[in-house]
Structures are given as C-alpha cells and as structure tokens.
Amino acid sequence: MKLRPPTGRLLVNRLVSLLSAGAALLGLAVLAWILAGVVARGLGALTPALFIHLPAPPGVPGGGLANAIVGTLVMTLAATALAVPLGLLAGVYLSEFGQDSRLADQSRFSANVLMGMPSIIIGVFVYALVVIPMGKFSGWAGIAALAIIMFPIVARTAEDMIRLVPNTLREAGLALGAPRWQVTLAIIFRAARAGLVTGVLLAIARVSGETAPLLFTALNSPYWVSSLSEPTPNLTVTIFNYAMSPYPDWQQLAWGGSLLITLGVLALTLLTRFSLRDKPR
C-alpha cells in the first residue's frame, strides 16, 4: 500500500519549527543588542574617576557618580534591613500559621497585586505618606518606597522556601521542647537559608534598577549622602537626568552608571537562578 506522503503537514511543521527557533533567536538578538549597546557605551565611562568624584556641573570636566553609587547602596541596604524582617515574618505566617486561612489567601493575593503594581504608584503613595508630612524629599522616603517594593517579594519567596523544609525537622525541634519561634528561627530558617537568601537577592536585584519610585521621594543630590533626612543621591535618578540632558559628558556618565546597574542586576539574577535550580519545585 502506498502511503500518502504527508508533505504539506510536514512542511507546515518545518516552517513552524523554523519560526519558533527564529523567535528565540530574535529574543536573544535583542538581548545581545541591548547588552552590547550598554557595554560599548558604558565601558569608556568606567574610569576610577566615576567611582571617586562627585558630579560636576555641565561644562566642568571630571565629574563622577561616586555619591550616587553610595546613595543607592545605602538606600538599598536600608530598605533591605526594613523589608527582610517584615517579609520573613509574613512568609512565616503564610507557610506556618496561616496556610489556607482567609488572611493568608488575602495576603498572597495582595502580595501579587503589590508585585504587579507599577512602581510609580508606590512612589506617589510614599510621597503623600512621607514627603508631605516631613516637608521635604528625603532618603527615608526613598527607603520606604524601595522597602514596599521588596517586601512582598521577600514574603512570597520566603513562604515558598519555608514550605519546602520537611515536617520532620519541625517536629523534631518541637519534640525537644523548643518553643515555636525558636524552631522557626533556629531550625527552619537555617534549613531554608539558601532559598531565603535567594529571595532577598532577587528583591535587591529588582529594586536596584528602580527609578520611578525615587523620582519624587528621594529626589537626587549632587553631594555626598550627608543625612537621610535630605534629598539623597542615587544612581537611577541621576542616570535619568543625565540621559535626558544634551551634555555628552553627562550622557557618558549615564551610560557608565547604566553599565554598573546592568552588571550588578544580571550578576545577582544569574546567581539566584543557579542556586534555585537545585531546589526541587
């Protein structure tokens, strides 16, 4: 019996395979294009001056981004210090105490809403909450905005990681007479340590590139971080301002800053990817 050659269908299949591979290639090409663009334009700006000098006004050479880098680091660390304990507590509730309770469901939903919320709305929220009563832009407002963004990310990853810890560890600890809180902090956290750190790193990566929430909370400053109750220099708003300016040396600095952020965020992301890979789903 002669089999009818299914050429048409095979052809379509071949075509679709090619298109799919093409789509993947397109995605990779865009990634490469972006990274190449950032590296090509930013590499020239990665001089020691960038890390040591303060910004100079337009027309004055030798400016750097030192204060912006420090400001971003300080605000990110402080936001982490604020968001991580709260996030861990929330994660503990979601995985240990609440589980399927109404509060837990609501919290999980709210966490997703917060994570999907445009960060500029959070900036507006913190502006009305902190900047107006305080009477000025401040690093604290910026930290608050960043912390609000980080908090649900830490909470959700903490919940997922804590759930993975086997019950036997819990029961062993309780059987030894330890109170619940000690079992959680000393045993479960230690067991889930890698995953929890990953969650924190993910949140930090997410927040390092945020500009919109800082636009009207921390504002920016051309000086060193002197006090968090004042407008605080930061890398992202500086890049925004410099990029929109017509001055080539400022634009060069903007690229340098962009390269720094990109490298940092990509490094953190890849690190978390590889550490999460070993975790069973």
Binding site: A90, E96, M117, I121, P179, G209, A243
Partner: protein, 337 residues
C-alpha cells in the same frame, strides 16, 4: 499531632492542647514563657502578613483621597477629555489612557505570538541543554531594569527606528493613517516594540510551564496518532492550556500597563490622541513621571493622582483576572492524568 503545615487541628484536640498548655503552664514557668513568646511571635507574623492587604488598601484609600478634588470637579468626563491645559486647569485623561492602551496593545500583538513560539522552541524543539541556556537568557530580558531599556531605547533603538524602520514602513504602508507622519524615531510604535521585549520573558515563562503541565499521556497519544509537533501544539496543547496562556497574557498585560521609565524615555511626551503610530504620545505612567514633581495647583496634582488611581484600578483588575486564570489552570491540570 496538630502542629505543622498541612495538618489541621482535629476539633477535639483543641481542648486537649488547651488543657495541655494550661497544664504545662501550671507545671513549669518555662512552658508559660514559651507560650507567651510563641503568642508574640505568631502575632508578629500575623502583623507582617496583614501588612500586605493593608498596604494595598492604604494605597487605594490614599489615591481616592487625593484625587477627590479632580473627581468632583471633572466627573466621569475626565476619562474621555483630551484637554490637558495647566493654564486653564482643564485636565483630561484621554491621551494618557489612550497611550497606555495603544502601547500595551502593540506590545501584546508582538509579544504573545513571539512568546508562544519561544516557549514552543524551549519545550519541544530544543535539546535540553540548549533549552536551559536559551531559557535562562530569555529570562534575563526580564532582569534588565526599565531604565536601561529606556536608555537603550532613546540612544540606540529610536535612531534605528527613525533611520530605517519608520521610513520603510512609511513607504510601503504609508497609505494607512497608522504609518503617516515624520519618522521621529521616538513615539508610540517604538514604545510598543520595546514594551514587547520587556514582557516577552514573563509571558514566555508561564506559557512554558503551561506547556509542561499538559499531561504527558495526552501529548503522547496525539503524537502516537501521527500528529506533527506543530499539530500537537496547535490542536492539543494550546486548547488544553488556553486558560493558563490567557492568564500569562494578562500578566504580561499588567506589566506593560505599568511600565514607566522605558516608555517615558521613548514615547515623546505629547498630550495628544493621534491616529499615527509614528506620533508621540504619552501613557499614564509617563505623564506621572514627567509632571508629578512640578505640578502646581490643587486640580493639577489631583488630576495626576486621579490618573494614578485609574492605573491602579486597571492594574488591579488585570492582576485579579490573571491570578484567577493562572490559578484555575494550575488547579485543573497540575493533578495530571
């Protein structure tokens, strides 16, 4: 034992526990202390968890509160008015909402087919090591911060659009009002295309999971009947996973709606509804980013916050739909066959 995740307290045991607790409290002071400490700990964790719905509620309340003057003054007409005149304090959200929707639509039109194709490649067509590497690289697109997309968009991609793509489109499809106007480079089309690549990894990741969750037996039976990979995908996997895929699309939609910096850099900042994709426009997020710090006058600030409220509500609804769909899909199909 009633303690531990996933194990619920049997009704009778509560009494036993209470008795046990009080008994241990009577028996040893350390037990009493533990009881107190645990109560504090649980309370703190409840507080931490409660913070999240509280924040969402607080944001909503605050947005409504501060947009009240504009809500009262302009009413529903605000949503369709194209006015944006800080001189006469007449404001309307039409151009911002239009820009948000159009740029998002362009992004979805480009990203959804691309994501489905990439997910197909990663799941069915690529050998596992290639799939892993390419998959990680695609996910890196999501890791790149918005401002970097903005920088690249303004300095690299927009000139490319202005010099090559827009003139070509204008020459071939210029009879359509969509592609008329000078090739500025910056504008709605450029913003939409950049958004597409920003949301691609999100839609792709969930679509990948959806593909993988369709039961093996279903897929294999289709293959067994002689279907090609494409036919299996098109006629079996996608229908089965439709709910999940739509959920993924909604998630991407949510991201695109709120994207601020990338759009602000390249959309051109014009309060105008235009038929042409080459024209500059604005989105709700870009309007806020550009004008919030400088707005004077109660109505101006209030109008801006009302824009924020609109964005919050749209994002909230989209999020709700996305979560509902994705959860429904996972619940239905993660049981497997």
């Amino acid at each position: 034992m009633g303690i531990g995740p996933g194990m619920e307290e049997a009704p009778g045991l509560e009494r036993v526990h209470a008795e046990g607790a009080s008994r241990s409290a009577k028996l040893c002071p350390r037990g009493k202390a533990h009881f107190r400490e645990d109560a504090v700990f649980k309370g703190l964790s409840i507080g931490g968890s409660l913070l999240m719905p509280l924040l969402v509620a607080a944001i909503l309340v605050e947005l409504v509160w501060y947009s009240w003057p504009a809500l009262k003054h302009f009413g529903v007409g605000f949503l369709v008015s194209q006015e944006w005149n800080p001189v006469t304090q007449e404001f309307g959200a039409a151009s911002s909402i239009f820009g948000t929707l159009v740029s998002t639509l362009i992004a979805l039109l480009l990203a959804v087919p691309l994501s489905l194709a990439v997910a197909l490649f990663l799941v069915e067509l690529a050998p596992p090591p290639v799939s892993r590497v390419v998959g990680t690289l695609i996910e890196l697109l999501a890791a790149i911060p918005s401002i970097i997309y903005g920088m690249w968009g303004l300095f690299v991609f927009a000139p490319f659009m202005a010099d090559y793509v827009q003139p070509a489109l204008g020459k071939t499809l210029g009879f359509l009002p969509l592609f008329q106007g000078p090739p500025l480079g910056i504008g709605m089309l450029t913003a939409g295309i950049i958004l597409a690549f920003m949301i691609l990894p999100f839609i792709c990741a969930i679509t990948r999971d959806v593909y993988l969750l369709v039961p093996r037996t279903v897929r294999e039976s289709a293959f067994g009947m002689g279907a090609t990979t494409w036919e299996v995908t098109y006629q079996v996997i996608i229908p089965y996973g439709l709910v999940g895929i739509i959920g993924a699309v909604f998630l991407g939609l949510g991201r695109a709606l709120g994207e601020t910096m990338a759009v602000t850099f390249v959309i051109g900042n014009a309060h105008r509804v235009s038929a042409s994709l080459f024209a500059p426009g604005n989105s709700i997020a870009s309007t806020l980013a550009n004008e919030f710090a400088e707005a004077t006058g109660t109505l101006y600030v209030s109008s801006l916050i009302e824009l924020g409220l609109v964005l919050f509500l749209i994002t909230y609804l989209v999020q709700m739909t996305a979560q509902f769909l994705v959860r429904r899909f996972y619940r239905a199909w993660s049981a497997g066959l």
